[in-house]
Every structure is written in structure tokens, then in C-alpha cells.
């Protein structure tokens, strides 16, 4: 009996071994983390909790039939968007794929506008024209939100190109999932970025599954995705995406490479999503085991880990954590109420925002007919 018990524990540990104290401390000594004050740490923690509660609320709204289409939630990966975006300076930009809610909140977008967008309401951040996969906030240096796997990778490269062209000291953090690395345009982007020495950081959020296909079933060499950078003579690194200190340390090095040397980096951060590829993923517990999901959630949840660390550091108390939790729930619930109360866009809106020249009459000498609706 005892032998059997031991075997079970080992199997559990093999699925998702718990992080030891050394692992938990990873990145803590990096200057970007050493210099973090208590408020800064609380802000990181709060933002992660806010993302989690927003998405849980959105999932509920979806189940209530308030939201349709796709909803790719970020639950389990929050430390990456929050860690990376927390280091943004004036000329640093962000672009990502369709799992974009976390980045949107991390750059400071308003949850009311985000939730309303999911509901397809006119008060949404894209006036109900983009939906879950297409959040944008150029005023916050956030360029989406892109629905086609790897489609954002040359765009992010182009944002970096524009920064360099204009002589600005900045970079573009271009996020993607592990599914993106097998698209041709990703490789074209890497080549261009290194060839032209562009200040871009490609962040692979490797959650192990491109939709329902595991890494081993999709990548010929799956031990390291970042190592593909070698083929382009590009700097690369890997890190534990569950640990926000480590995320910040790793991305800080890449940002410095971009800012100081105008060079790209391919950074792979290991992470995990508890739920399906999208909410409509009926097989979320079929292409991987329930045990794997449960064990990862128990041992590697980025919010739980950071909470433990902050409690140890005495930056956080259970009372403060409860307050953060309550505020986050209230914010998400209020966002859902706001979205619910908001009107749908009027029919006339269908043909607005297609062409600049149509939306700005008189400023442009276009002559011909642009729409063909009759």
C-alpha cells in the first residue's frame, strides 16, 4: 500500500512538480525587483487579480448568453502580461494575439469599455466592432488584439521599425502563444528583426497547447522554442512565466538590449492555461488530463505564488488581499452591469470607421463611391 501511495505522489509531482524555495526566489535579486517598493508590488498583485476576476466575470456573462463568439481567457497566465507591461516606458509598445484581455488590463485599459466590447455594445473600446480578440488602445501604446495566429508578429516588428526610423528610444513587446512559432510569418519577422537590428521583444507565452495540440505534437523540436532564434543569430532566453519576479527580470534584460543596442530578443516564458483554448473548447479536458490541470493550478498558479511571496515579504496581509479581492470583484461586476446597460451600436455605425477619408469629409478630395450597399 505504502509503495502505491509513493507512486501516486511521484506521478503527481511528475505532472506538475511544486516549486521549491529557490525557484520561488528566482528573479527577486534583479534590480528591477529590488527597486520595487511595496506599492509597486501590491500594484502588480492587484492587476493580476483584476485580470482574473474580469475574465471570470466575462466567462459567466458568456454562459448567461450575454457574450457570443470566441472568448479566449488568459486565466493562469496573468503574471506574464502584468510583469512585462509593468516595465513599459514612454516609447515602449505592446501587441499581442487574440488572448488579449490580460495585456489590455495590464496596459491600463478601462474594464467597463473592455466588458462592453465583449457584449458588442457601442460603449466598447472598439465601439463593438472588434470583440474579444480585437482590443486596441493606441493612446496606451497597445496595438491589439489580433485574431490570426502569428499575424501580429510582423506588425510588432513594424512598430519597432517605426521607433527606430523616428529615432525614439523604445521597443515593441510582441506577444504570442506557442502555436505561433510554426507559422511562416513568425520566422520572416525574426529574420527581419535581426537583419535590421530592430528593438523588438518576441514573447512566446508557452502554455503547452496550440488549441488542442500539445507542443510535442506540433513542434519538431519542442524542448526549447526560443532556441529557434539561433537560426537568426538572435539573442534568446527562457523563463518560468508563473513567477512574476522572474518574468520581470527576463524581460528587463530584453528591454535593455532593445533600448541600448537596438537588438531583438526571443523570450520564451513557460505558463499554463487552466481553461480551454477558448470558452467554446469542448475538449479542454480531453487533450490533457484533469490531473494535469488540477496539479498545475494547485502548484503553479501565478497569483497564489505571488501572494505567498508577498505575505512572506510582509508586503501583503490577508486583510489587504481580501480588500484587493473585493475591489476586483466589484470592478468586474460593475463592468458587467455597465456593459449590460449600454446600448448596441446604431445601424449607421456599420459603415463608420472603415475609411479615414469617409470619416473626415472635406479634409480629403476623394471623389468616387466607396460603399456599395444598394
Amino acid at each position: 500500500m505504502s509503495n502505491n501511495t509513493t507512486t501516486e505522489v511521484n506521478q503527481e509531482e511528475e505532472i506538475a512538480p511544486p516549486l521549491d524555495a529557490k525557484a520561488l526566489a528566482s528573479g527577486r535579486d534583479h534590480p528591477v525587483n529590488v527597486s520595487l517598493k511595496a506599492e509597486g508590488k501590491i500594484r502588480l498583485y492587484t492587476t493580476m487579480v483584476r485580470i482574473r476576476r474580469f475574465e471570470e466575470r466575462a466567462v459567466r456573462a458568456y454562459q448567461q448568453g450575454k457574450i457570443g463568439g470566441f472568448l479566449h481567457d488568459y486565466i493562469g497566465q496573468e503574471s506574464i502580461a502584468v510583469g512585462c507591461c509593468s516595465l513599459m516606458k514612454e516609447h515602449d509598445h505592446v501587441i499581442t494575439a487574440y488572448r488579449d484581455h490580460g495585456h489590455a488590463i495590464a496596459v491600463g485599459m478601462n474594464q467597463n469599455a473592455l466588458m462592453a466590447e465583449l457584449y458588442g455594445k457601442v460603449t466598447g473600446c472598439s465601439k463593438g466592432k472588434g470583440g474579444s480578440m480585437h482590443y486596441f488602445a493606441p493612446d496606451k501604446n497597445y496595438w491589439g488584439g489580433h485574431g490570426i495566429v502569428a499575424g501580429q508578429t510582423p506588425l510588432g516588428t513594424g512598430l519597432a521599425y517605426a521607433l527606430k526610423y523616428k529615432g525614439l528610444k523604445g521597443c515593441c513587446m510582441c506577444f504570442m502563444g506557442d502555436g505561433a512559432v510554426n507559422q511562416g510569418v513568425f520566422h520572416e519577422s525574426l529574420n527581419l528583426a535581426q537583419l535590421w537590428k530592430l528593438p523588438v521583444i518576441y514573447v512566446i507565452e508557452n502554455n503547452g497547447y496550440s488549441m488542442g495540440t500539445s507542443l510535442a505534437r506540433s513542434s519538431a523540436f519542442s524542448d526549447s522554442l526560443a532556441m529557434r532564434a539561433e537560426g537568426y543569430n538572435m539573442a534568446w532566453d527562457t523563463g518560468n512565466g508563473h513567477l512574476i519576479y522572474e518574468v520581470r527580470a527576463k524581460v528587463a534584460a530584453a528591454i535593455e538590449r532593445a533600448h541600448e543596442h537596438s537588438l531583438p530578443t526571443l523570450l520564451e516564458l513557460k505558463t499554463y492555461r487552466y481553461r480551454g483554448h477558448s470558452i467554446a473548447d469542448a475538449n479542454a479536458e480531453k487533450y490533457r488530463t484533469k490531473d494535469e490541470i488540477r496539479r498545475t493550478r494547485e502548484t503553479k498558479d501565478p497569483i497564489s505564488i505571488f501572494k505567498t511571496i508577498l505575505l512572506e515579504e510582509k508586503v501583503l496581509t490577508e486583510d489587504i488581499a481580501k480588500d484587493i479581492e473585493k475591489s476586483a470583484r466589484d470592478e468586474a461586476n460593475n463592468a458587467a452591469d455597465y456593459a449590460d446597460r449600454s446600448p448596441y451600436p446604431p445601424v449607421e455605425d456599420i459603415t463608420n470607421d472603415v475609411y479615414w477619408s469617409v470619416d473626415n469629409p472635406g479634409k480629403h478630395d476623394n471623389h468616387g463611391k466607396i460603399f456599395f450597399n444598394d
Binding site: 509598445h93 501587441i95 466598447g124 473600446c125 472598439s126 465601439k127 463593438g128 466592432k129 472588434g130 470583440g131 480585437h134 486596441f136 488602445a137 493606441p138 493612446d139 496595438w143 491589439g144 488584439g145 489580433h146 485574431g147 490570426i148 499575424g151 508578429t153 510582423p154 506588425l155 510588432g156 516588428t157 513594424g158 512598430l159 521599425y161 517605426a162 521607433l163 526610423y165 523616428k166 511562416g184 510569418v185 520572416e188 519577422s189 529574420n191 527581419l192 537583419l195 463608420n352 470607421d353 472603415v354 475609411y355 479615414w356 477619408s357 470619416d359 473626415n360 480629403h364 478630395d365 476623394n366 471623389h367 468616387g368 463611391k369 466607396i370 460603399f371 456599395f372 444598394d374
Partner: protein, 324 residues
């Protein structure tokens, strides 16, 4: 007015815009040190340097996407596709990103990019290098599609395209690059979306874009001298925006329309215009609208047959004689 080639007029337009706006840059395969595969950009790299005239590797999806991303931050890239046939490897970038970003962002993001290059058959290179995707690209709201036929038009329109805040896909023709025409020395632009009556006439309207305009003008000349038929030739100049008023005004005058294009017939530009005419000028017609396009097959390699596959003056004349 000086007589210069289509190629020279285009190059002059590009150079003037590079000088006018520091955000304008040219990028494409072989555009800089090689002087352009079709010499459109010849001398520009020497004149303006590495920053403004940039050689890209053969990587259309990558560099077109890069240009779109850069344009979102206010750069105005003029991207050369060596052939518009290569657009298909950059299709996701061209139709998902460039065409939809403004809309999906609720109007927050603009994509002031120009993608230009030759889009034509008739050069004996086989099907993969002979595509004419103007009808396909004009099907995407958010894009503008321009097809200039003369040196005067190509210069005025490329300048407008570069200044436009929407993505403009600018389709040229290798068989027109050497064609000469009068181009003023002083600066001018031509608004995008305005058709041009290239020849006035009374008996029938020939509506065309790109090189088919030149084909129609040759046919009109022969129809006038040999058959005493007066053709009006309307050059669309842009497919989207489409100058409906110019089309309808001419049809109301001549009461007959032949739509000529080097595109394939199925779901082609002519199909759209044919619909427009029957919808808005039905009572003005003295006969059915007819279309003449490339013969419906991939572009054939064999030289004499390829010349026959495309609309040519003889085929236009035959079509007109059947209508009158």
C-alpha cells in the same frame, strides 16, 4: 509639356513625396541597390540613401506586415511588390491587418500604407506571375485600389496615394512602364476616385482601367477611321472608390456600354459595373451591356496565344461591331 515615360513619371512622383514628407520611405525587393526589378526606383537609393529606400529580403508576408505595423505609428511606407502576383503570400497582412485594423479598433488606428507594383499578364511568364487581383482586393472594405493607365495619371495618383490616410493598393503594368506621355513639370495631384474620359464619343462607351484603357483607345481610333463609329473611352483610374457618376453620365450619353478589362471575367470588375449600369441607367440603354476580359483560364505561357487571351484592339473592335 515634356514627354516622359510612365516609369519616369512614377519615379518622379515617388521622389517628390520622399522630399516632401520625411515619413515616406520606399521598401521592397531589389528597390535600392539593384535599382528596381523594373527600374521604377532607379537612382532613388543613390539619391536618398539607406533610410528612405530599403531593400527587403524575399519575404513578402514579413516586410508587407512590417510596413503595415510601421504605418500604424505614422510612417508612410511605399511598399513595392515586384509583381502583384506575390500579394498572395502576404494576403493575411494585406486583407486582414491593413483592411480591418481601422474598423476593428473603432477608428482609433490608421494604416497609411501604399502597396504598389505591376499587376498584369501579357509578358510571357506564365500564370503565377500574371495575376490581376484588383477585383479581389477591391472586395475588401477598408482598401482603395488604383489602376493608372497613363504617365500623367500615374504621377498624380501615386502622390495622392502616398498622402492618403487609408491603405492604397496601386496597380501598375510592366507593359506600360515604357509608354510615353505628356506630364507637366509643375506639381499636381489627381484625387483618388475620379474617373477620366480619355476620348469623347457618342455611339458607345468603352469602360476600362489600366492597360485596357490603352487597348480601348487604339480600338476607338480604328473604329472611327474604318467604321465611322464614335467611341467614348472612360478610364476608371480607381476601382475603389468607383466613380459611378462618370460611368452613368457617359452611358446616358451613348446608350451603349462595353466593359473591357484584363482581369478574368468571373466576379470581375466588369461584373460590378454591369450591375451598376443596369440598376441605375437601365432605361438609358439601347442594348445589353457587354463585357470583354481575358479569356477565362490561367494566363497561358505561349506568346501568341497569351496575346489573344488578353483583350486586344481587334477583340474590342469585334465586340463593338456586334453591338452596333
Amino acid at each position: 509639356m515634356p514627354l516622359i515615360t510612365y516609369r519616369q513619371a512614377l519615379k518622379d512622383g515617388l521622389a517628390e513625396e520622399i522630399i516632401r514628407d520625411p515619413n515616406v520611405l520606399i521598401m521592397g525587393e531589389e528597390v535600392a541597390q539593384y535599382n528596381g526589378a523594373y527600374k521604377v526606383t532607379e537612382g532613388l537609393w543613390e539619391r536618398f540613401g539607406d533610410k528612405r529606400v530599403v531593400d527587403a529580403p524575399i519575404s513578402e508576408a514579413g516586410f508587407i506586415g512590417l510596413g503595415i505595423g510601421a504605418s500604424m505609428l505614422g510612417i508612410r511606407p511605399v511598399m513595392e511588390l515586384m509583381f502583384f502576383s506575390f500579394a498572395y503570400v502576404a494576403w493575411d497582412q494585406m486583407v486582414n491587418n491593413a483592411a480591418c485594423v481601422r474598423y476593428m479598433s473603432g477608428g482609433l488606428i490608421n494604416v497609411p500604407i501604399v502597396i504598389r507594383g505591376p499587376a498584369n499578364g501579357g509578358t510571357n511568364v506564365g500564370a503565377t506571375h500574371s495575376h490581376t487581383p484588383e477585383n479581389q482586393l477591391a472586395n475588401f472594405p477598408g482598401l482603395k485600389v488604383v489602376c493608372p493607365a497613363t504617365p500623367y495619371d500615374v504621377k498624380g495618383l501615386i502622390k495622392s496615394a502616398i498622402r492618403d490616410n487609408d491603405p492604397v493598393y496601386f496597380m501598375e503594368n510592366t507593359l506600360l512602364y515604357g509608354m510615353q506621355g505628356e506630364v507637366p513639370v509643375e506639381e499636381y495631384t489627381i484625387p483618388i476616385g475620379k474617373a477620366d474620359v480619355k476620348r469623347a464619343g457618342t455611339d458607345i462607351t468603352l469602360i476600362a482601367h489600366g492597360r485596357a484603357v490603352i487597348t480601348c483607345l487604339k480600338a476607338a481610333e480604328l473604329l472611327a477611321t474604318e467604321h465611322e463609329i464614335s467611341c467614348e473611352v472612360v478610364d476608371l483610374r480607381s476601382i475603389r472608390p468607383l466613380d459611378e457618376e462618370a460611368i452613368l453620365a457617359s452611358v446616358r450619353k451613348t446608350h451603349r456600354a462595353l466593359l473591357v478589362e484584363e482581369n478574368k471575367p468571373f466576379c470581375g470588375v466588369g461584373a460590378q459595373i454591369s450591375h451598376l449600369i443596369q440598376d441605375k441607367a437601365f432605361d438609358d440603354l439601347d442594348g445589353p451591356v457587354k463585357r470583354l476580359s481575358s479569356i477565362d483560364a490561367p494566363a497561358i505561357y505561349s506568346d501568341p496565344l497569351e496575346k489573344y487571351q488578353l483583350p486586344n484592339p481587334q477583340r474590342v473592335i469585334e465586340a463593338v461591331l456586334k453591338m452596333i
